[in-house]
């Protein structure tokens, strides 16, 4: 027997492409714009969201029958806030420099629309295992876009990947830089992320016209 049934696999795979939280549902844009100037920050942010959304979805799903619906938003906030504080403390303990780069954006995972959206739309109505898969899937879909954007912005903006120079040294003029190449300062600033995300959306929709919204 396969590890996952086809339906369960769909829970993980759909958000990666045709139901991507960023490019299709257009949620969680703020952090995608803010922290993707470096690939490392994008990866850490993705891992943090995978943890928060995976665990959070399970917790909410387990409690779904005992949460009074009038205060469910507050309960959801408490769950996600607890998890985010855990992530924040872990980052501060083991990756202090990185937690300074990410700054307020770890704390702002609480307000990430994807997380509350999945709690509301999925975890409150489904069992823990399915909710877990759905949480992981959506967080991965978010992470994939973050990493693609982070990859291009760091590569073109700073000429490095994960802090390692790719094109040579811009100051000593080695590698590509000796031919007059220069880093693209536009990719460092947040509007560039908007444009890169826009291009991803454009490419995705022109490959799959079924995704284009009617208006």
């Amino acid at each position: 027997m396969a590890l996952l049934t086809k339906k369960d696999a769909g829970l993980i795979l759909d958000p990666l492409a045709d139901n991507n939280p960023i490019t299709i549902q257009v949620l969680g844009i703020c952090s995608a714009l803010a922290i993707t100037a470096e690939l490392e920050a994008s990866i850490v942010m993705s891992i943090a969201v995978i943890f928060v959304l995976g665990v959070g979805n399970v917790v909410i799903s387990l409690m779904r029958n005992i949460i009074p619906s009038k205060i469910r938003i507050i309960v959801q906030l408490i769950v996600v806030a607890t998890l985010v504080i855990v992530v924040d403390q872990v980052l501060k303990a083991f990756a202090y420099e990185l937690s300074k780069t990410l700054g307020a954006f770890v704390g702002l995972i609480i307000t990430n629309c994807i997380i509350m959206g999945r709690f509301e739309a999925f975890a409150l109505a489904n069992g823990p295992w399915k909710s877990f898969l759905d949480g992981i899937g959506n967080a991965l879909g978010y992470g994939v876009i973050l990493i693609i954007v982070g990859f291009f912005r760091e590569l073109l903006g700073s000429g490095t990947l994960l802090g390692i120079p790719v094109f040579g040294d811009p100051i000593a003029k080695t590698g590509l830089y000796q031919f007059g190449y220069e880093n693209n300062g536009f990719m460092i600033i947040p509007p560039a992320a908007l444009i890169v995300v826009g291009i991803i959306i454009w490419v995705q929709r022109s490959r799959n016209p079924a995704l284009v919204e009617e208006n």
């Binding site: 007059g180 190449y181 536009f186 826009g198």
Partner: protein, 428 residues
């Protein structure tokens, strides 16, 4: 067989194939097509898109020629100092000046057209429609609004970005929100600021030489290539006035982006565009008014003594209000950029507001921008974004006024001869 019929045959051979738009484009670029309308009679104006574009290009050719000579003139003036008794033929229209222009300005033009048209061709083939003439004007504007030493590969990257993100994503020519030429410039400005701002980029070799001198070379002369606004931003107004007269600024014998320096040629081009009814005089006039008003406000602030001579804004704020029009890119921007019929306001009242705010904001950004004492391209891009909003409210205002008039109107019944009937007492 003539070239035209050969082209026609090739075109017919590829009709319906994938590459058809590319061949059609070459054909229609060189000749008017043979086909005429098949049924029905239509009144057609001769001023189609191609002719509109060509008129703007004609208005820009003098600017281009001037900029070729000015590139060399500024280079040699930076090296040897400005000539004492300036004569146009002896010092400006010389072969050595033209040579610098030919090796620096024409490659920019070639890259701009080559890359831009290539992108247009690729998109036409992908979308399967005719190639649009939209790039013809953008292609000549782009080299005129960048510094003379801009590396060609940077320009190519920027042109790809500007045409794809500035125009094609919105649906191509006529659908764009932002002026593509200014999008290209804005991209260069934010992506490669060291090549687009500062004192050393405006004159050929100024940057190269200052780098070599920094590296320890002693046998070469430095070129100080500050623009007039650059001097003023550093509160060196007196030094600037010793170097450039008002007439220099007006004729354009000053450093700056390739083609923006000559207010005189922009004025000529502007008049040409107004009389050929291509560009809107409303936008030009209101933009001039807007910049004068902002300049007067700043002059007033200085006259009131609210800004001391030590303030970093003093130089630019105390600059005579009308001189803002003849330095920097304001004249060029007003005549050739703000009047773009696609990205500007469409309604007549909207054009007044749109133009006024362009002039107003240009001078404001010019004075307050800490990194770069120029703001015309930013102001025009900003107003491009707001142009549809302005039009929307102008049209709403019109509709509301007419609705009101309609409600208050007294309807006079008419008899069969069209004469108003005396209203009976009970019908009133």
């Amino acid at each position: 067989m003539s070239l035209k019929s050969k082209l026609h045959e090739t075109k017919m051979k590829f009709q319906g194939k994938k590459m058809a738009p590319a061949f059609n484009a070459i054909h229609t670029f060189l000749f008017a097509p043979n086909e005429t309308t098949h049924n029905g009679s239509h009144v057609r104006g001769a001023d189609d898109l191609k002719r509109t574009m060509n008129t703007v290009i004609m208005a820009l050719v003098p600017v281009l020629i001037f900029s070729i000579f000015n590139a060399g003139y500024q280079h040699y003036a930076g090296l040897n100092g400005f000539p004492e008794n300036f004569s146009l033929m002896e010092h400006f229209l010389t072969w050595e000046n033209a040579w610098i222009g030919i090796i620096k300005v024409l490659p920019l033009l070639a890259v701009s057209y080559g890359v831009g048209l290539l992108v247009e061709f690729i998109f036409a083939v992908i979308k399967g429609h005719e190639v649009e003439e939209g790039y013809l004007v953008t292609g000549i504007l782009v080299p005129l609004i960048v510094p003379v030493d801009t590396p060609l590969w940077m320009l190519a990257v920027a042109v790809v970005f500007g045409v794809v993100i500035g125009k094609e994503v919105f649906g191509g020519t006529g659908m764009n929100i932002l002026n593509p030429a200014l999008t290209i410039r804005a991209f260069l400005f934010f992506a490669y600021p060291t090549w687009m701002s500062g004192d050393k980029v405006w004159v050929h070799q100024a940057r190269e030489r200052s780098e070599q001198i920094l590296a320890g070379a002693t046998d070469i002369d430095a070129i100080s290539g500050e623009t007039i606004l650059g001097y003023l931003a550093q509160n060196k107004g007196a030094a600037m006035e010793a170097k450039y007269t008002v007439m220099d600024m007006f004729w354009g014998f000053v450093p700056g982006s390739v083609g923006e320096t000559s207010a005189f040629l922009c004025l000529l081009g502007g008049l040409f565009l107004i009389f050929s009814k291509i560009a809107s005089w409303r936008i030009m006039v209101s933009a001039v008014i807007g910049s004068l008003v902002m300049g007067l406000i700043f002059n007033g602030v200085v006259d009131q003594g609210w800004i001391g001579e030590t303030s970093k804004f003093y130089g630019l704020m105390s600059f005579d209000y009308w001189k803002h029009l003849i330095v920097g890119g304001l004249a060029f921007g007003i005549v050739y950029m703000a009047t773009d019929p696609v990205t500007g306001a469409q309604t007549n009242r909207g054009k007044w507001i749109y133009g006024f705010l362009i002039g107003f904001i240009s001078v404001m950004i010019r004075v307050f921008n800490p990194a770069y004492p120029e703001g015309v391209f930013l102001a025009i891009l900003l107003m491009n974004v707001f142009a549809p909003t302005i039009d929307h409210y102008v049209i709403r205002g019109n509709v509301n006024r007419r609705m009101k008039r309609l409600k208050n109107a007294v309807v006079h019944p008419k008899d069969s001869d069209g004469k108003a009937v005396e209203l009976q007492a009970e019908t009133v």
